[in-house]
């Protein structure tokens, strides 16, 4: 009986306040769509960062007269650094082969460079290439190390730009979330006002809070869910039309693009935020009319 009343009142409320519900749903769609897009943009930037990070190595060149114990010491030092993801050893002959392949079109250079002129090295891949200085300061002065080469200044600047872009994306997401809260709050308040008479009667005849708030909060949650689904579709559209159909088609595989798993990780956020935001604001807004 209890559940049936609450469900039927929720249903009636949904039908009766179609315009109010539509306003709430659209509010949620637009504000959460903004949030989702901002999150997607931020993920795109972090995908780009990963793409470039993977291509970046720190090279630790060894001296010509390096001894085996020195090599082992350097290798173990590198392997023990927590920032290090992987360490490759490149022997003189490997370096030579790579050099020859890299410059195969410049025959004179290859001919004039004996293999003995190329140093052996450790190629270090970092978990976060921005921590390059840690590696360089750890091994720079070890015996057997000739030179540590990291990233160029230009790359440094590029990464700083990406970081700023990501921060801006997250900031936009925060602003979108704030806008969502305020818009939803306003719409829910209007909806609560429109049923003030009903609420007053329920209070006077001694309905419990569950009966008074239940249908209203459920209504808000349903609107939030529909809005969240709408916003998710919006994010999917952004992925299909803007990223796959736009940027990707235009620029090709210069970098990686956000994948479907990124989109899928945003969808539950939008759904949960939609339901909680609309449901909780409904609860809190109505609470003001229930104060005894």
């Amino acid at each position: 009986m209890r559940l049936r009343f609450i469900l039927s009142e929720t249903w009636l409320g949904l039908i009766r306040n179609v315009s109010m519900l539509a306003a709430l749903v659209l509010t949620v769609v637009i504000s959460l769509g903004m949030l989702g897009s901002a999150l997607l943009a931020s993920k795109q930037i972090s995908t780009m960062k990963d793409f470039w990070f993977d291509k970046i190595q720190v090279s630790v060149f060894l001296t010509k007269d390096v001894t085996q114990p020195q090599r082992d010491a350097i290798a173990s030092e590198l392997n023990h650094l927590p920032q290090v993801k992987r360490v490759y050893y490149e022997s003189q002959s490997q370096a030579c082969a790579r050099f020859r392949k890299q410059f195969q079109d410049v025959k004179s250079l290859v001919d004039n460079t004996p293999c003995s002129a190329l140093p052996e090295s450790y190629r270090v891949q970092l978990k976060d290439p921005q921590k390059y200085l840690v590696v360089s300061s750890a091994v720079q002065n070890m015996p057997g190390v000739d030179e540590v080469q990291g990233r160029s200044k230009a790359l440094e600047r590029f990464f700083r730009l990406l970081n700023k872009g990501q921060a801006a994306g997250l900031f936009a997401a925060g602003v979108a979330l704030l806008a969502a809260v305020l818009l939803i709050l306003n719409t829910v308040r209007m909806s609560a006002m429109s049923r003030r008479r009903e609420t007053r009667i329920m209070r006077l005849v001694g309905a419990s809070d569950l009966y008074i708030q239940g249908p209203f909060v459920l209504e808000g949650a349903v609107a939030g869910l529909i809005g969240g689904i709408g916003a998710s579709l919006g994010v999917v559209l952004v992925k299909v039309l803007l990223i796959d159909g736009g940027v990707h088609a235009m620029f090709g595989n210069v970098v990686n693009y956000v994948g479907w798993n990124d989109v899928l990780s945003i969808v539950p956020i939008l759904l949960v935020v939609g339901v909680l935001l609309a449901g909780l604001t409904s609860l809190l807004t109505l609470q003001r009319y229930l104060r005894v």
Binding site: L204, V205, G206, A207
Partner: protein, 229 residues
């Protein structure tokens, strides 16, 4: 049934007390008029009985319970023992007469078959048999007030509070409403009615409590509206 013991109530927006040191006792089954000008404290008195407001000082007992000691979640149970009627009827415009009355039972979780049984009974009692499926805007003011009274009485409360129930009605319609309240009173329900309609008070000859600026000026059994008359 209702006992006010040295009750004082201030509203935060006013320096003057809405009720000042009011001590009143209303027995079970009584019919009491609370009279006085606008702002004399009539509505505050009723709101305090419903625990819509809390007194600043003093104790209020309703149906054997001291309201200050009644926890928040028990207030709905208090209100189920009190029916309330207002000047502006407070009906739901998008529900029929029957639905308006049934609503009061649905929201307190009464089973369907009980509702189906008692709603026609109470509509019959207030004289609205045959108009169950009308919408409130199809009814006259007096009929709308009868719907409101039916809704207040359908759960058979021990107390019926009426705040200016005839305030929006013409005199002849008001007489019908007073007959109805009188009939409800005869079933054993305590009726407390705030009004400033002197004709009604004078013709009923019931207990009169007169408030003036929050003070009890007069408490008289079988009274009239004012001395000067």
């Amino acid at each position: 049934m209702i006992r006010f013991q040295n009750v004082t109530k201030f509203y935060p927006t006013s320096a003057r007390a809405a009720l000042a040191d009011v001590t009143v006792e209303i027995e079970k089954g009584e019919f009491v008029f609370i009279v006085g000008q606008s702002g004399s404290g009539k509505s505050t008195f009723l709101r305090l009985v419903l625990k819509e407001e809390k007194p600043n000082q003093g104790e209020i007992w309703v149906a054997g319970k001291e309201l200050a000691r009644l926890s928040h979640w028990k207030v709905p149970h208090l209100r189920r023992q009190i029916g309330t009627v207002f000047q502006d009827f407070l009906l739901l415009p998008n529900k029929t007469v029957r639905e308006n009355v049934a609503f009061a039972l649905e929201v307190i979780g009464k089973p369907r078959h009980t509702i189906a049984k008692v709603v026609p009974e109470v509509l019959d009692l207030v004289g609205l048999a045959g108009k169950e499926d009308r919408m409130p805007n199809e009814l006259s003011g007096g009929e709308q007030q009868r719907v409101a009274i039916a809704r207040a009485f359908v759960n058979r409360p021990m107390i019926l509070l009426a705040d200016e129930p005839t305030g929006n009605l013409d005199p002849s319609t008001s007489v019908g409403i007073m007959r109805l309240l009188d009939r409800i009173n005869r079933t054993g329900t305590t009726v407390v009615m705030a009004t400033h309609d002197s004709h009604i008070v004078d013709s009923m000859r019931r207990r009169v409590i007169e408030l003036d600026n929050g003070h009890v000026m007069r408490d008289q059994s079988r009274g009239v509206y004012g001395y000067a008359r």
